[in-house]
Every structure is written in C-alpha cells, then in structure tokens.
C-alpha cells in the first residue's frame, strides 16, 4: 500500500507510536483510510486498537508519528479538534444520561446552543433517512441497548463527520439489529463517508469491510482485503498462530440424564430502579449437557446469576434446586457445598480480589468446599496446600504470569479468567454456572476455556453458560435459551437453533412465553 497524497486518502497515519511506561501499546503503526471505504481494524484484546483510535480522536497524544488529514499534517490535541476536522466516534460504552431524553443527550454533546426542539427535529429527520428510527423525546432509561446505540450514531452524524469510528458496535446488538446497522453503514459509504470499523467478529468484517488493517502486540502485521480471506486466515493474522478449534462430542441420552440444576418459577423484584426484574424463569440443566443463555446485555443476566449463585437468596427454597435438593434459601457457600461452582462476569473485584495473590484468590471461593485441605484446626490457613493447589491450576490451565504467585491484578484478563475458571474446574463441580466465560479474553485462551467447559459437562456435570457472544454459545452449547427483559425462553436444541431464531428471541419475539413451564420435568 503506497502512500499517495493525491487526496484519495482521507486519513493517513505514519509511524504512530504510543508508549505507556514499559509497554509500547502502538509501535510505528501505519494506516490509510480512503474516502468512501469501510476499513476494518482487527486485533485481539490488548493489540492496541483502542490506543490507536484514542490517538485519532484526540483522547491520547502519540509519542511519535504523523497524522495526515486530507493530505495535511495535523496534530489532534483533543476530541473537540477531532470533531472539528470531521472525525466522529461511537464508543463501545455509551456515555448517555439515563434520566434525560435522547434529544437532550444529543444537545449536551453538540454544545452549540440551538434549542432542543430544533435538535429533536433534526435528529428525527436524520434517523429516519438513515433507517435508524428514533424518538428523540423518549427517555434513555427506557430504551434498549440497540436504541441507545442509535442515539450515539445520530449524535455523531449530526456533526457531519467525514470519518466515523465505530468501536465494537455489534457487541451489544441482536443479529437483526446488526443487519440494520450494516445497511446504514453501507448507505454512509455510498455517500462518500469513510468508516473505521473496529471488531473482532471476523464474519461481519468479511461481510461489510473493504479493507482491513490487522494489529498484533501494537504492531501492524498486515493489510488485506477481508473478502479475499477466510475467517481462519484472518484469525491467524490476529493471533499469530493457529487457534485450536473447539471439539464438541455429541451428548447422548441427555433427555434421560439426571437433572442437576433446576430453576422453578424463579422471580425477583428489581433491587434498584435500573435493574431488571426476573419473571418466572424455568430451566433444567441435566448431567452431561451445556446449556447456553443468550441475550443482549442488560436483560437480567447479572440478576439471574446472582440468584442462581446464592449471592442473593430466594423466598421460595424450591425455586433453585441443586442435585435434587432445594437450595433457594442457602447462600453461595451452602450451594457450593452442594456441589455447585460459579464464575461471575467481572473478574477483578468480583471473581477475584485484585490485590491478593492467586493462591489467596484460590481460597476465596474454596475455603468451605475444601475446608479440610486448605483450613486446619482452629481456622488456621494451610498456606502450603493452597500454594500447591494454585500451582496445579496454573499448570492445568496454562496461566501465564510473571511471578510464581502474583497478585490477581498483575495478570492479563485472559490469564486471570483461565485461573478463575480453573479454580472451579479443579473441584470437578457437579454444577457449573459461568457468566461471560471469555469476555475480553484472547482467542487462544477462549478456546481453552470453552473446551474445558465442554469436557466438564461430558464428564457428567451440568454446565450453564450465560454469554453475549453467540458464536461462543453455538460452539459449546447443547441447547440455547434466550433471556430478554428478565424472561427466559424455552431452550432450543442446538440442532434446531439458528442465528436467526436466536436473534429474534433476543429481540423479544416470544412474548408471554411463560406457558412452557416444566414441560420437560
């Protein structure tokens, strides 16, 4: 890709470098974005995508390197200047006030003093013309995640940018919502606007992107045309080596296997104004199977996990049953003692105490279940036994670390997740409940974790996986249920499940589906 200053390139980046302490987050990165193209920025977590984008948007200042905008060298000192140039950005994590309307949120960021009614009218017109219908008068707190993303996109478009940066935009969308978004992006491209599209979802990159730049460990490892690549070849570029495919042996005779985890008519009132009530959830997970729970983030998955794990107790003891016994009235320790194990979504601060060593974090979830091994008479902790067990888990899960027993916070996200999952697997639990098993985890580690979960199930345990990553659920689940607005659909056997069916359920296509209660019991 030769550098050309003939004006065809909207943005050119030469040798952009950003150093944090001893880490070179971006190392002499080159990037060209032509007018009217959708350009993919690919890379694993920690490859430097976010750092690069923040430098383009003026949130971070590069240590060295040059940025050319329409052939002119520019220094993007702050986001305000980036917007002036014509760079707009839609962040993965929205910055919206839930108590304000969509139009008010847009007005806050425009900062040009025009009356709200004008902004609302403009926003409405723009949203319909791009096929992203939006009611500017609606309160953000009442909107779905997909609708909130529309506000962010409209807000960005109102500033008539030449280059739009989208950071993992489909991670919060149903497949149908994502299709809508792609139509909008293609429309923007046809108008000559450029889009920098950050994603790790290779199929959608192949589908909509014209060119791709692949980052690995802060360096550009290649430019390519994603349409000429396969998902496997793109993954190889991102990861640097072959990712082992997850193998899922067929689960035979599950229908007659013993139910190990049963959820019966589980309901929960919202704990805070912005949390989701759970409505009459029923689910049975049998020995030997993996059941996946799909759903757009914020539809009650976190609340559901808390009630199943016992961090929140239930009134009705029979609403959660573990290995055939009522567990609803027991706390998390009691449920662990019945043979269940749990992996929460947040690693630091929930699944692990950040400032504690790995061996101490092992004790965190296993002080009761392995009481005899790890805790001696009089409540004395047996440090050596715990250290030994921690090293065993580190070895089994291939946890990479810089010291023999480092603090949890010193590990990368993927390695810490391997440890946290391994900590529970090491117990050979009869019931395993995992929320977002591979969120923010690199491809190699994710494959390792998924394979381990399947193997646990095939060895006779019941595994329940809550995930926003549909690819993951299709890879490991024997059936998939969908959580929407605090309700859970009937699980679809994997043979019947398609992206389309699950996507419709994620959008709420099965209203009032409470009737299927216990038809399998």
């Amino acid at each position: 890709m030769s550098a050309n200053h003939d004006g065809a390139n909207l943005l050119e980046v030469r040798g952009l470098t950003k150093i944090f302490g001893t880490l070179t987050a971006c190392d002499h990165v080159d990037l060209n974005i032509a007018k009217g193209e959708i350009h993919a920025l690919l890379g694993e977590n920690g490859a430097g995508k976010s750092t690069l984008v923040k430098m383009l948007f003026g949130s971070l200042e590069p240590n060295s390197g040059e940025i050319f905008w329409n052939g002119q060298a520019v220094r993007i000192a702050n986001p305000g200047f980036a917007k002036k140039l014509g760079i707009g950005m839609v962040f993965q994590h929205f910055s919206l006030f839930e108590a304000l309307t969509a139009a008010e949120n847009i007005a806050l960021s425009l900062d040009d003093g025009s009356p709200i009614s004008t902004i609302a009218a403009k926003a409405r017109a723009l949203s319909y013309s791009y096929g992203l219908p939006l009611d500017p008068e609606s309160l953000v707190g009442d909107l779905s995640v997909g609708e909130r993303q529309r506000i962010e996109i409209i807000r960005c478009l109102l500033q008539t940018p030449q280059l739009i940066i989208l950071d993992e935009p489909t991670s919060v969308l149903t497949p149908q919502e994502a299709d809508k978004l792609f139509e909008t992006l293609e429309r923007l491209r046809s108008e000559g606007k450029s889009i920098l599209y950050i994603s790790h979802r290779l199929e959608e990159v192949k589908r909509i992107c014209d060119r791709a730049t692949v980052l690995r460990h802060g360096k550009v490892v290649g430019h390519c045309n994603p349409r000429e690549e396969t998902a496997a070849s793109l993954a190889r570029m991102m990861v640097g080596n072959e990712v082992k495919a997850v193998v899922r042996a067929p689960a035979d005779g599950i229908e007659t296997a013993q139910p190990l985890l049963e959820i019966r008519a589980l309901s929960r009132k919202p704990a805070t104004p912005f949390s989701i009530p759970l409505k009459n959830i029923n689910l049975t997970v049998r020995a030997g199977e993996v059941i996946g729970i799909a759903g757009v983030a914020g539809n009650g998955q976190g609340e559901f996990f808390e009630t199943v794990s016992g961090e929140v107790l239930q009134q009705d003891a029979a609403s959660v049953r573990i290995r055939g016994k009522d567990a609803g009235g027991l706390g998390i320790t009691g449920r662990r003692l019945m043979g269940a194990a749990f992996v929460p979504e947040e690693r630091l601060g929930h699944g692990a105490a950040p400032r504690m060593k790995l061996s101490e974090n092992l004790l965190l979830s296993r002080h009761a279940t392995d009481g005899k091994v790890f805790v001696g008479t009089g409540g004395m902790v047996k440090s050596e036994a715990i250290y030994g067990a921690a090293q065993r888990i580190i070895k089994a899960m291939d946890v990479r670390k810089s010291a023999p027993d480092p603090e949890a916070a010193a590990l990368s996200g993927g390695n810490l997740q391997k440890f946290i999952v391994g900590r529970e697997l090491d117990r050979r639990p009869g019931v395993m409940v995992v929320n977002q098993p591979t969120w923010g985890v690199d491809a190699g580690a994710a494959a390792h974790i998924r394979q381990a979960l399947i193997e646990l199930a095939r060895s006779g345990s019941a595994v329940l996986v809550i995930s926003q990553d549909l690819d993951e659920l299709f890879e490991i689940s024997d059936s998939i249920a969908v959580m929407h607005n605090g309700e859970l659909s009937r699980p679809l056997p994997i043979a019947e499940a398609t992206f389309e069916k699950i996507g419709l359920l994620m959008g709420g296509a099965e209203p009032g589906h409470a009737e299927h209660i216990l038809e399998t019991a």
Binding site: P79, F91, L108, S109, E346, A353, H367, G379, V381
Partner: protein
C-alpha cells in the same frame, strides 16, 4: 494559574511503602524543630528533653510501657477494623466503658476480695467495651448509619456518663467531696511486673500478647483472610460467601473488647480508682498508632512506643522549658499528617497543570474511555 492534580501511580514502590513511617517521623522532627525555634527554644535542647531524657533511666522505661500499653491494645483492635474497611473512631468511648464496667466489682462490692476479682474485672471490662462498640455496629447494619459519626459521638456520651458516675452515684462518700470512686482494694489492682525497678504493670504484657494474637489472626487464619477480602473488595467477599454484616459486628466487638481491656487495665493498674478523666486521649491517639504501624500488629507495637514517648516528652518539656504539654498533641497530629501524606504520595504523584495553557476549545467529553 496552576492546578494540582493527584495522578494514580501505576505501581507502588515496596521500598517506600516500608520506609513511609520513618520518612514521616523525620519530617515530624523537622517540622518540630521549626516549631521549637519559633517558640524561642533551642530545637536541639528541646529534642533532647522531649525524646531522650524521658527514656534515659529504667523507671522511665516503665512509664513508657504504661503509656504504650493502652495505645497498643487499642490500636491492634482498630487495625482489624480498618483492614476490614470499617471505621471505628470511638475507641476512646469503648475504653471508658471498659473502665466503668470493669470497675463495677471494686466500686459496688468493695468487700469482695480474692484471686477471682481481677480476672472478673478484666472480663467485664472487655464485655463493657465490646457492648458499647456493638451500638454503632447495630446502627450500621440495621439502619445503614455511618459508623464514623455514631462511634465518635458515643465517645462524648461515655465521657459524660463517667463524669456523672464519679460525681454522683459512685462517688466515694469518704472522699471529701472529690469526684472519684473509692480506692480499689488490693485484689482489684493490676500487679506491677517488676516492682523493684518501676511501675509498669501487666497491661503491657496484655498488649504484647494481643498484638501477637492479632498478628496470627490476620496473617494465618481464615478469619483474617475474611477481614482482608471484605475490606479490599467487598463484592469478591460476598462471592466468597463472607457476610459483611457479620464482619461489622466481628470488627467492632473485637476492637471494642480490646479497648475495654485497655480501659480496665489502665483504671486498675495505673490509676487505682475511677476519676472524671481516665484517658489522655488514648482512644484517638491509637488511631495514629494503627496507621503509623501500617495496620500491622508488630508495627503497631513499635508505633505505640513512639507515640507513648510523645506523651512523656510533652510532660518533660512542660516541666523543663515551661512549654504547654499540648506540644504532645501537636507532635501526634504532625505525625499522622505526615504518615497519611507519605502514604498518599506512594499511591499517587502530584501533577502541576497550567490553566493558562491554550486549549483549542472546551470539548465536551464524549468518551467514557475503556
């Protein structure tokens, strides 16, 4: 125009974390020298009187132990609270209640003598301190009140209650109207350790034993692990199955009991009766001791001795140089200030930001950076 901003350091220096109390002590000495100079006293001379003379003879070491004992006892209890991120500021009140409840036996039953008296008094002292500490714990767990406020306010309640007791119902009828109780009988007096060389009593041994036990609790036992997890990441603690409310009671009852033990030891040891005031602020000074000792029981023993010296030094400069013994409070305050300052700078660095620097425009912050 300049603005100061604290920026979190990516890494803490282990070396400076360990050195922090010593740097703080050095800075206190420097600031103290300036203070003495401003008071018109030769700083070197003042320091000799303040820090060296009070511990130059054996009997004075005994006095040091007497002052250090309550500080260490209270501070090791508080260290458990603070590690659990529970803020018991009311040890002074728990100290006083321990003194009052423990004194019930010699005051109300002055004829009761024998080897049982002292153990019973010590036990009652611990119960009294723990019961008084249970009030803020109950208020926090039941109503979500801020334990800093409730425990602090209960200090004044305790002080006034003691004042009323010794002027009213518990006043010694043969005391010529002085506001104090009867002198405790011999079996209610905490024995001295080595009567030949000085006054130090068993309170100091209690302090050392308590420090050792708390050290084992915190570093070797599951309960100590629970304290540390709940204090540093409460959500992970809940995931571990540890109850926060139970921890609030545990920490308050433990620290209250130790403060109560300190209180009854002080009353039955150094004083020998109840008076309107039985503490020169031990309960508050112990907060400084706890932090100066890095919330580590062994560090607290050392810090307790240092702070005890500030009390003795204050008395010494008052008698030798005619400076108010409030100087002791000043030293204690400076020490806490510098310790907290050093700790802050270990975790954060200061950045100067020039407001005059040209900003292209005040951009609305869109990003909620990852």
């Amino acid at each position: 125009m300049m603005r100061l901003e604290l920026v979190k350091r990516p890494q803490r220096s282990a070396l400076f974390s360990a050195l922090s109390p010593f740097i703080a002590f050095l800075l206190t000495i420097i600031a103290g020298a300036i203070m003495f100079a401003l008071l018109g006293v030769n700083p070197l001379n003042a320091f000799r009187i303040y820090f060296i003379e009070p511990i130059s003879q054996v009997w004075q070491l005994h006095e040091l132990a007497i002052k250090a004992a309550p500080l260490i006892l209270i501070a090791v209890g508080l260290s458990v609270c603070y590690k659990a991120n529970i803020w018991n500021i009311g040890a002074e009140g728990q100290f006083i209640l321990g003194g009052i409840v423990g004194s019930m036996i010699p005051v109300l039953f002055p004829r009761f003598e024998g080897p049982l008296v002292l153990p019973l008094m010590l036990l009652l002292g611990m119960v009294g301190g723990a019961a008084y500490a249970a009030i803020p714990a109950l208020l926090k767990t039941r109503f979500g009140t801020n334990e800093i406020l409730t425990s602090l306010m209960l200090v004044y309640v305790a002080q006034l209650f003691l004042d009323w007791l010794v002027r009213g119902p518990w006043r010694d009828p043969q005391g010529h109207g002085f506001p104090q109780t009867v002198q405790f009988n011999d079996s209610a007096i905490l024995p001295e350790l080595m009567p030949d060389s000085g006054r130090a009593n068993w309170g100091f041994v209690f302090a050392l034993v308590a420090a050792g036990l708390i050290w084992i609790l915190m570093s070797r036992m599951l309960k100590g692990f629970e304290v540390r997890v709940l204090g540093s990441s409460p959500r992970a603690g809940r995931f571990a199955g540890f109850g926060l409310n139970r921890m609030v009671f545990f920490a308050f009852l433990l620290s209250g009991a130790l403060a109560g033990l300190a209180g009854i030891s002080e009353v039955s040891g150094a004083i020998g009766q109840l008076q309107p005031v039985i503490s020169p602020g031990y309960g508050f000074t112990a907060i400084i001791v706890a932090f100066l000792g890095r919330l580590n029981p062994l560090g607290i023993v050392a810090a307790g001795l240092v702070l005890a010296l500030t009390y003795l030094g204050g008395e010494a400069v008052q008698s030798a140089l005619g400076i108010s013994d409030k100087v002791a409070r000043v030293f204690q305050g400076m020490l806490l200030f510098f310790v907290l300052g050093c700790d802050t700078l270990i975790h954060y660095r200061i950045r100067l930001i020039g407001l005059a620097a040209p900003k292209l425009e005040a951009a609305p912050k869109l990003e909620e950076a990852r």
